[in-house]
């Protein structure tokens, strides 16, 4: 029977043969993957166990180095490097631990940490990485240098700020920011790509930890990339640069809607009632989102009267704005008795009537 069917198999053109070959290769692949899973598990576990042990050694050494006055720094450093830092994994762990120490300690310890960084050969290790082609190694090296505020030869980093890889670009920016002695945002001048929100957050964060004077953001208000302008308008608020308020008011007439939106928002947060006049004048020509932003700016820094001057500019069709208007009017509640006039489910139908009422009130006031 078996022999028969095997003979039969020969007569079947390919199909069964192909299936059989496929089955066998699948099974072999399956076994291969099972083996891979096992190997991976063992490797990962070993590494983890090694890491835990190594970290203890590192932390212990670092603590002695930082806090023990009787510690023979120079000889111990060489000794530790020679005995413990062998593989590239060792170096990576040491770099990681150095960064953690640097993140948590300051003052006299910071300098000692840098001493460790050079003394253990971590600088040389990372510089080699920075010269490599692989972007993730370059990013890793830049990250460490910028975190520790350690300068490397300028020509190695300068080209990276124009890199196609967004991660590399970002890390290069932060590197320049963190290692600069003056003009930390100088790199913005040459920036030919938009800033992502992510980059903005990290630039802001680095600026906040910056020891030197924060630059005047007005310098980039005319930058060709609107995201840079938006970022700088945001930063005027974050760093309380009140001297730039007149420029923020000018930005309300910017050609880009996103820039105008940020200007409205920043002026609102900085509570500049003087800006309301221009905002209200621009209101009819603004985008729906910016109209909304203006209404909420009035809620924060304006009066019921400011609000009422805009009621005529909201048409019957702009239902969402009507609702915003209503919400804000309610927050000025004792001055505008809105509830009785409007049925919220049919707000558009009552709008004209409500508008007339508000305008009459405005003329009377």
């Amino acid at each position: 029977m078996q022999l028969n069917s095997l003979k039969e198999l020969e007569n079947w053109p390919y199909i069964l043969k192909v299936n059989l070959t496929l089955s066998i290769s699948f099974l072999i692949l399956t076994l291969l993957f099972i083996a891979l899973v096992l190997v991976l598990r063992i490797v990962k576990n070993r590494r983890e166990a090694y890491r835990i042990k190594f970290d203890v050694k590192l932390i212990d050494f670092y603590n002695h180095f930082l806090f023990d006055e009787d510690f023979e720094k120079a000889s111990q450093l060489g000794d530790f490097k020679f005995r413990h830092l062998k593989t590239s994994f060792d170096h990576k762990l040491a770099i990681k631990q150095t960064l953690i120490f640097d993140e948590n300690l300051k003052g006299e310890s910071s300098e000692a940490i840098k001493e460790l960084f050079y003394g253990l050969g971590l600088y040389a290790f990372l510089l080699k990485d920075l010269k490599k082609k692989a972007w993730f190694k370059q990013v890793r090296a830049l990250y460490a240098f910028s975190k520790l505020g350690i300068s490397v030869p300028q020509e190695l980093v300068a080209p990276l700020i124009k890199s196609k890889k967004v991660e590399l670009r970002q890390q290069a920016m932060l590197y320049f920011l963190n290692t600069s002695k003056e003009n930390p945002l100088g790199f913005l001048d040459d920036l030919d790509q938009e800033l992502t929100l992510w980059q903005q957050v990290f630039i802001e964060n680095s600026l906040k930890n910056f020891d030197l004077e924060v630059p005047d953001f007005a310098r980039w208000f005319n930058h060709e990339k609107s995201s840079v302008v938006v970022f700088c308008i945001k930063m005027v608020v974050s760093f309380n640069q009140f001297q730039n308020i007149p420029l923020l008011i000018e930005a309300l007439d910017h050609t880009e809607a996103a820039v105008r939106a940020q200007a409205i928002n920043s002026l609102k947060i900085m509570e500049v009632p003087d800006a309301l006049q221009l905002m209200s004048a621009n209101f009819p020509f603004e985008t729906p989102a910016n109209k909304r932003a203006i209404l909420y700016a009035i809620e924060r820094i304006g009066t019921a009267k400011d609000l009422r001057t805009l009621v005529g500019c909201i048409s019957k069709e702009e239902e969402n704005l009507q609702i915003d208007y209503y919400k804000i009017a309610s927050s000025f509640e004792d001055e505008i008795p809105v509830q009785k006039l409007i049925d919220l489910d049919t707000i558009t139908e009552d709008w004209e009537e409500y508008k007339d009422y508000s305008l009459r009130l405005l003329q009377g006031a």
């Binding site: 932390i59 670092y62 806090f67 948590n104 300690l105 003052g107």
Partner: protein, 121 residues
Amino acid sequence: MNRKILVIEDNPMVVKSLEFKLKKDGYDVVVAEDGRTAMKLLSEGHFDLILTDLMLPFISGNEIIEFIKTEYPNIPVIVLSTSTQEDIITEAFTLGVDDFITKPFSPNELSLRVKRTLAKV
């Protein structure tokens, strides 16, 4: 007898450094990696000072501070936190902490502040 300090902190590097530095300064140091362990340790023995982080597993730092300040009002508390936000610092002081140190911290400064806080009691 040495003064005894309870350190509540989950970052192993910070724990080790604090332990090292404070022991060198002549204190006994006991570590709790989370709020729950801290509460257990507090119920078992006496401490002269507590040094705590705010972002902790299971129970937030604020809850722990509230607990300490009601159950053990005489133990001074120093917060060691990455937070530089004003409202968080104010809230901690409202809860009655004795000092607030932000990370990154200077170990020498910390040891002085610990000394000063203990001297006040």
